[in-house]
């Protein structure tokens, strides 16, 4: 029972950029073969019924609230949500209570994660102790303990001397540093993006220029240090030329964006709906369009859920006081499919950004449909319509902006190393 054959599948191959019918064979947890016709024998045959079979999603930047706030999300609940959403690898954030900033905490978290979650969990560590931006963490020991990247998440390291040293040190170890490009001065206290909408609602707002300033600063430090760097979320048109120049100049830089910035804009906040409060704040429609275009061109590399669980109490507050963030492990794929149905991005491009590129950036062999790659797969029907009920989510926290939204696309099954971890009822 080790060989499983998927027949009548629509194979989404982000590496080749193809979307074509065929079969795929997995053996002992890895992809053993694929083709268009002449499928081989196998112990188990899965008839995909013409639905899509793609590499499982690799999601950089998932917040699981262990340690500290398990009532918001545990590794168990996040893992089930990931499996239900077709996410086969989560790279989790260190912005917990306390921050994951020592090898001891990281080892504890990694052990918890791998016991409790049915999907692959890779743990990221803080870049500075307590995410305070003063002293770098034990980057070497943390890497030995399994840290895949280093980030202070939405705490920008304001002291450029501290950051330049951390980047230099990280470079000597080949560590990946993830930055949050945002000028801390301009963005202090902001709950919205500056412009007509924020002014009408009377919300403190930040200019989209703050993102470009943050990115420009980080790029200058990369030129100094040569570190490996990934920008967590690029969400504005104005930041894109700087990113393009940095890539052309040969810096080791990649950039991501969040599913919410790709599918929603500032007007969705409407009458102070706090489930739409994210960080950075939702942007103007022109920015959203520019980011989609940058994804199509490959200038922006990855799409993340930026899954951020918040309990009801944190959100049932006046907009300025309410916590930022949205859960998205289970809505990442159906929301991304909005871009497919709108004919903005094709499926291989989406999976390049959701699976292939993030896997490559983390040095993983997954994210591909190639022979020899791990059999981390998602089988989904891209057309199945449904209305999202937030209370049906597997996440402990229900703070999704898509509550009541009409979405299209459902995961039928998720496989991690060839084993089924989720099957639709």
């Amino acid at each position: 029972m080790t060989r499983t054959l998927f027949i009548d599948a629509r194979l989404i191959d982000p590496e080749a950029g193809t979307d074509a019918p065929g079969w795929l064979l997995i053996d002992k947890g890895v992809i053993a073969g694929r083709g268009a016709e002449g499928a081989p024998q196998a112990d188990t045959v899965v008839d995909c019924g013409g639905h899509c079979l793609a590499p499982g999603i690799v999601d950089i930047g998932v917040k699981v609230c262990e340690p500290g706030e398990r009532h918001k999300e545990s590794y168990r609940s996040a893992g089930l949500a990931a499996a239900a959403g077709g996410v086969t690898t989560m790279a989790t954030r260190p912005d917990t209570l306390p921050a994951i900033d020592s090898p001891e905490v990281l080892e504890f978290v990694a052990r918890r994660a791998n016991e409790a979650a049915p999907v692959n969990v890779l743990v990221m560590a803080a870049l500075t102790k307590g995410r305070q931006g003063r002293e770098m963490t034990e980057i070497g020991f943390l890497m030995d303990a399994g840290a895949v990247a280093f980030t202070d998440c939405d705490h920008v390291v304001t002291d450029t001397k501290v950051l330049s040293r951390a980047l230099s040190y990280a470079r000597s170890l080949g560590a990946l540093v993830i930055g949050h490009p945002q000028d801390p001065g301009l963005s202090a206290g902001a709950a919205a993006t500056s412009g007509k909408f924020a002014s009408l609602r009377g919300l403190p707002a930040v200019s989209p220029m703050a993102e470009r300033m943050g990115l420009d600063r980080d790029i200058a430090l990369l030129e100094m240090t040569g570190a490996r760097y990934h920008a967590d979320q690029i969400t504005t048109a104005r930041a894109l030329p700087a990113l393009q120049r940095a890539k052309r100049n040969g810096l080791d830089i990649t950039a991501g964006t969040s599913i919410h910035h790709l599918t929603l804009n500032e007007l969705d906040v409407s009458d102070y709906r706090t489930f739409f409060k994210v960080k950075p704040p939702l942007r103007a429609e022109e920015d959203r369009q520019a980011v989609i275009e940058a994804l199509r061109e490959g200038l922006i590399d990855t799409i993340s859920s930026m899954h951020t669980p918040q309990d009801e109490e944190s959100k049932r507050l006046p907009f300025e006081e309410a916590a930022s963030g949205a859960v998205a492990l289970e809505t990442l794929l159906p929301a991304a499919l909005r871009l497919y149905h709108a004919e903005a991005l094709d499926l291989p491009t989406l999976f390049r950004a959701m699976a292939l590129n993030p896997a490559r950036r983390l040095g993983l062999a997954s994210g591909r449909l190639a022979v020899g790659a791990p059999a981390d797969l998602v089988l989904f029907d891209p057309h199945k319509p449904f209305v999202l009920d937030r209370f049906a989510l597997k996440s402990k926290s229900k703070n999704t902006p898509f509550d009541g939204a009409r979405l299209q696309g459902r995961v039928l099954a998720t496989y991690v190393a060839g084993t089924v971890v989720h099957e639709a009822e």
């Binding site: 500056s194 412009g195 007509k196 909408f197 924020a198 002014s199 009408l200 609602r201 009377g202 919300l203 707002a205 200019s207 009458d271 102070y272 109490e313 049932r316 507050l317 006046p318 907009f319 300025e320 006081e321």
Partner: protein, 313 residues
Amino acid sequence: MSFPHAHLLGIEPLAPENITAILDLAEEYVTLNRSDTKHGDALAGLTQINMFFEASTRTQASFELAGKRLGADVMNMAMQASSLKKGETLIDTALTLNAMHPDLLVVRHPQSGAVDLLAQKVRCAVLNAGDGRHEHPTQALLDALTIRRAKGRLHRLNIAICGDIAHSRVARSNILLLGRMESRVRLIGPPTLMPAGIEEFGVEVYDDMRAGLDGVDVVMMLRLQKERMDGGFIPSEREYYHRYGLDAEKLGYAKPDAIVMHPGPMNRGVEIDGEIADDINRSVIQDQVEMGVAVRMAAMDLLARNLRARRAG
């Protein structure tokens, strides 16, 4: 009388005929308030709670007087002193209130959108008495009534709003109301006190006060908060007064019969010269206070009619 609203949360949801409905009824209350009896029964039997999460003397007194003149049982709750300090959330406050069966709830809160949030959770008519830098609808309505009485109309007027537009809920509500009534609004102030994207509201923006005042019918001054005076938004109080304080020389650029307004409380010698504020030929600042009571009576009357109609079935 056209006023199909359950709450008065802002000017934004109001159609021009809704605004006119409030102003027309307020005219009747101006007459009542000037009579000897000063008493109506439109709110008899109803309970009005004034919840002020931010200190206020004039607005709270105006709402209290308006409610009492129409026969409501009025209670004031000074929220900044009580439950907020004990960590109670706004939602819990709303649930507590529901148990007291109020009919009219007047709320001021330092956060934009907080009054909307409260209105979603309580079972009574809610009046926004100012939320953060979002809206202050009764102030815009009393300003409109003052202008209409002084100028005979609300359309085709040139109205300048001067000062700290960025942090002002009064400015936002007035921009919305005056635009809706088809007057032309000019905003005057230093760029540091001007909100982003404000040009898209259909207003003209000036950083030169003399150019901005040229030929206007109405000059509306805004209060400059003390905490914004020192270096953060403007270099100093005296430089602000020099460039943006309303004095006789600058007022000379407006029409000869232009009126001067201020929502109060004034900083004499910061945004307005004391003599202009007191000039009975130009200043309508005291009228604004009088109109405030009448407009609030009218707004609560209309909301109470809708509330009673809804409850009747």
